[in-house]
């Protein structure tokens, strides 16, 4: 067995010196001691370190002779096998022994000295994932910086640097603040959808909550439910958590539980404001009198169980300047200044019915709608106009005109009447024949008697018309004003129930007389407003069980928070406030509707 031992050294100048020697042995020893076949002058090597022996199958067995191992192909072992055909490398101290078979079958052992492994730690660093990824610190700065810049600094800066614009609900106001859409906690309600990109229209001042004053720049027409101190006194105590939150919030400038936004919370999605629940109302109105001891309002919490009797607005004395409200339990007497027995007009067999039958405009007995026409909002009725509703029967015809028609006395103003009377040129109708009267009602003094004779000044005098028995007093009450005969002014409210909403449209399946006792009313002093009990035939509180006849009715069916005479509905077509609050500020409903109890 021949080993070719080749030692490669370098001179100081870097020149390579190769020394070969041949050893004819079956085994070799390697170590620091000089007697070894391969002598390695290295303190890291043992005196007798390794023995390489040939085995029967042609491979080489490499064994450590002491307890210290050696490197074999990079691995530290105490014994190993090298197949000379593929070769192997033994590491001993700084020496690397490369073992391979030569072409002639000899085993070549090439010995090289390697430089100390400086910077090996650096190489080991390559195992860490950090060597192929950007540093965590850099990524952190980039992400955090981008978020702070785009989502905080840009909106804050553009908010602070903008020129505030006054809100105008009628125009499209583009937002001025950049990137603040990313701050929106949710979509705005349907009505505020236009403001989606204009956060600063509500969020006017940084770190100041949305103020009522800002809401009112657009919603100025909305009335208060009551004055703030009264509302606060009437409220039930808050829960501990709510109280604490409001305490903190108010310290920080929030407007408290009575501020607009505490009920009208925004960013809750594209929805409509829901009508207030019965609980929302009864929170305060149940046992309100215990907290608001001087209130004129009676407690209410459930329409079927506790609700005060209706208190319609009406004129309680002739010619009164203002309507009053009184409970229907007190059997109120209305003094509108008119005479009008509903029963006479509604009796299907009475004179009025007969008259109507004979008139082409009617053709059948009188019905309610012949005189009473619903307003567009279907809540109240249009003013009954004498010319449209009464004159077909209660004629004011005074003469024939030259063209063949009739002239009439004008209705409405006593001055007009005086002028018209002065123009009348007809006197009493002459008798048919001496001592012969016209028959029945057509006789002098009868209901259908008419005068077409020559004008007689004393007969047609204004005072006659206006005094008891005169034409005007068929319907009106005579009075004296500044020493002259006059008529009592007619006072009829355009709406009786001013703090609630009643839709006649919703009740059109009912007969008028089911609720209004008009067919039995003998005088205009009867207030024909149905009472609480009659409503309760069908309407009970929100918690009532719905049946064919019972309609569970929450407060919001008849009342709304800001406009007591209106109704808020979150469904169906707009407007959702009916009647829409606004111009009709002079109407009774509007005057009395803005309750200030």
């Amino acid at each position: 067995m021949t080993f070719l031992i080749r030692t490669i050294d370098f001179t100081a100048a870097g020149r390579e010196i190769i020394r070969d020697r041949v050893v004819e042995q079956d085994a070799l020893t390697i170590g620091r001691a000089a007697e070894n076949d391969i002598h390695l002058p290295d303190l890291a090597v043992e005196q007798r370190h390794v023995r390489i022996g040939r085995q029967s199958d042609g491979t080489l067995a490499v064994n450590a002779l002491g307890t210290l191992g050696f490197g074999l192909d990079g691995r530290t072992v105490t014994h190993g096998v090298i197949d000379p055909r593929t070769g192997g490398e033994i590491a001993l101290g700084a020496a690397r022994l490369d073992i391979a078979r030569e072409g002639n079958g000899n085993i070549a052992i090439t010995i090289r000295q390697v430089a100390a492994d400086e910077g090996k730690g650096d190489a080991r660093r390559g195992f860490a994932l950090a060597s192929v990824l950007p540093s965590k610190r850099a990524m952190s700065w980039i992400f955090a910086g981008a978020i702070m810049l785009v989502l905080l600094m840009v909106p804050v800066a553009s908010h602070l640097l903008r020129t505030p614009v006054k809100n105008d609900p009628k125009s499209d106001m583009p937002g001025q603040v950049l990137m603040d859409a990313a701050w929106s906690a949710g979509e705005l309600s349907l009505k505020h959808h236009k403001l989606e990109d204009n956060c600063e229209s509500c969020h006017v001042t940084p770190f100041v909550s949305v103020q009522d004053e800002t809401c009112l720049t657009c919603h100025e027409e909305l009335g208060d439910h009551a004055r703030k101190p009264r509302l606060a006194a009437g409220m039930p105590p808050l829960s501990t958590g709510d109280a604490l939150q409001w305490q903190i919030a108010e310290t920080l400038g929030k407007e408290g539980p009575l501020g607009c936004v505490s009920c009208h919370s925004e960013h809750e999605g594209p929805l409509r404001q829901k009508p207030a629940s019965e609980a929302f109302c009864s929170d305060c109105h149940d046992a309100l009198d215990t907290r608001l001891t001087d209130t004129a309002l009676a407690d209410a919490h459930d329409f079927g169980k506790e609700h005060p009797q209706f208190r319609p607005a009406f004129y309680a004395s002739f010619g009164a300047a203002k309507p009053v409200r009184a409970s229907l339990d007190s059997k109120p007497v209305e003094r509108s200044g008119l005479k009008f027995p509903h029963d006479v007009h509604m009796d299907a067999r009475g004179g009025a019915a007969r008259m109507a039958l004979s008139l082409p405009d009617y053709g059948q007995p009188l019905e309610c709608k012949d005189c009473h026409t619903l307003t567009a909002d279907k809540v109240s009725f249009k003013e009954v106009r004498m010319e449209d509703a009464c004159e077909s029967c209660h004629s004011l015809v005074s003469d024939r005109t030259t063209g063949g028609g009739f002239s009439k006395l004008r209705h409405g103003d006593v001055k007009d009447l005086a002028q018209d009377l002065a123009r009348i040129n007809s006197g009493p109708r002459p008798a048919l024949a001496p001592r012969r009267a016209r028959p029945g009602q057509f006789a002098q003094g009868g209901a259908y008697a008419a005068e077409f004779g020559r004008p007689v000044r004393s007969f047609i005098g204004l005072s006659n018309a206006l005094s008891q028995g005169g034409i005007c007093t068929e319907c009106h009450l005579p009075t004296v004003k500044q020493g002259r005969p006059d008529l009592m002014p007619v006072n009829l409210p355009d709406r009786f129930l001013t703090s609630g909403y009643f839709s006649h449209e919703a009740h059109k399946k009912e007969e008028c007389t089911d609720c209004h006792a008009a067919d039995t009313s003998k005088a205009a002093t009867d207030l024909l407003i149905p009472d609480l009990k009659s409503c309760r035939d069908c309407h009970l509180g929100a918690t009532a069980v719905k049946t064919k006849t019972i309609v569970p009715s929450s407060c919001a069916m008849c009342h709304s928070y800001h406009v007591p005479s209106g109704q808020w509905s979150s469904e169906g077509k707009e407007p959702h406030y009916s009647p829409a609050p606004g111009p009709a500020k002079t109407s009774i409903a509007a005057i009395l509707g803005l309750a200030k109890p």
Partner: protein, 288 residues
């Protein structure tokens, strides 16, 4: 006497410490922080269920603010683990307890944070903070699983070699390859040069994680150098050894990458989360 008593006391303290040294941070003190985290989540859920917030639950109710404050405090505290673990100084604090609390309280943030949102999700800075929080927690969960399972396979992959030895082994093979390849022709020699020249860590993060190295020069050389001659056969055998050694290194790289990758998301996203939280809180009160 006093000394002996002191010694006994010290011995029992040391024993206690030695015992606790072998308890994982997950089981620390009989899952103390797990129970605390479960209690926090349970109480948060119960409160959420009991409060009927109108018109819908949101982070701006008093309960929402409470949950938000707890969440913010937790996030800041959890992120301080990075500071705590760098402070190797004595004190009445245990890094293990801190890590245990970090893991369990971090998990309870899923409940607290989600309830704070009131399940209102949108394209805004608030949801950004929430999503970042969930990503940080998800990577954290991955991290706990990785730390619990991967070190065993890392150890198995090493086969009693240190990382330095793996590199040494490769160098040893390379030296043999260099001399063994001397008789080869130009084409094959070029293949061997390319294999030797390629950094043993070549390949990006994706290669490390998947363990796929399509540009591996050693694999190419192995395919290109046949076993036609004795010399070629020897080079081929050496290349096969090299490929095997590389596979071990790459196995280590893969396990190491799987162990570390989550931190490259967890840490930057935590910092991003803190930035998003600042933007979230400031924006909420800026537009109050």
């Amino acid at each position: 006497m006093a000394t002996r008593a002191g010694g006994a006391k010290r011995f029992s303290q040391d024993e206690k410490r030695r015992d606790s040294d072998h308890v994982s941070f997950l089981r620390h003190r009989g899952f103390r922080w797990l129970w605390i985290a479960l209690a926090l989540s349970g109480v948060s859920l119960l409160g959420y269920a009991l409060i009927d917030q109108q018109p819908r639950p949101n982070g701006g109710s008093w309960y929402g603010y409470t949950l938000g404050t707890i969440g913010l405090g937790l996030i800041i505290w959890l992120s301080l683990l990075g500071v705590r673990k760098r402070r190797i100084n004595p004190g009445a604090w245990s890094l293990k307890a801190w890590t245990s609390a970090h893991v369990y309280l971090g998990l309870s943030l899923v409940v607290v944070g989600t309830l704070h949102t009131g399940f209102q999700i949108g394209w805004n800075v608030h949801t950004l903070a929430y999503v970042l929080m969930l990503l940080v927690i998800a990577t954290g969960i991955y991290g706990v699983i990785a730390y619990a399972t991967l070190p065993a396979s890392l150890s198995a992959n090493r086969k009693e070699m240190t990382r330095a030895q793996m590199l040494d082994a490769l160098t040893a093979i390379d030296r043999q390859l260099e001399s063994a390849a001397q008789p080869l022709g130009r084409d094959q020699a070029d293949l061997v040069i390319a294999a030797l020249a390629q950094d043993s860590f070549a390949g990006g993060a994706i290669s490390r994680i998947t363990g796929r190295y399509p540009r591996c020069a050693t694999a190419r050389a192995l395919a290109g150098v046949g076993e036609a001659s004795d010399a070629a056969a020897r080079v081929h055998t050496l290349l096969a050894k090299r490929a095997e050694q590389l596979a071990q290194i790459r196995g280590a790289l893969r396990i190491r990458a799987l162990l570390e990758i989550w931190l490259f998301i967890h840490i930057p996203l935590t910092i991003a989360l803190i930035a998003a939280l600042i933007a979230h809180v400031v924006s909420v009160f800026f537009y109050w």
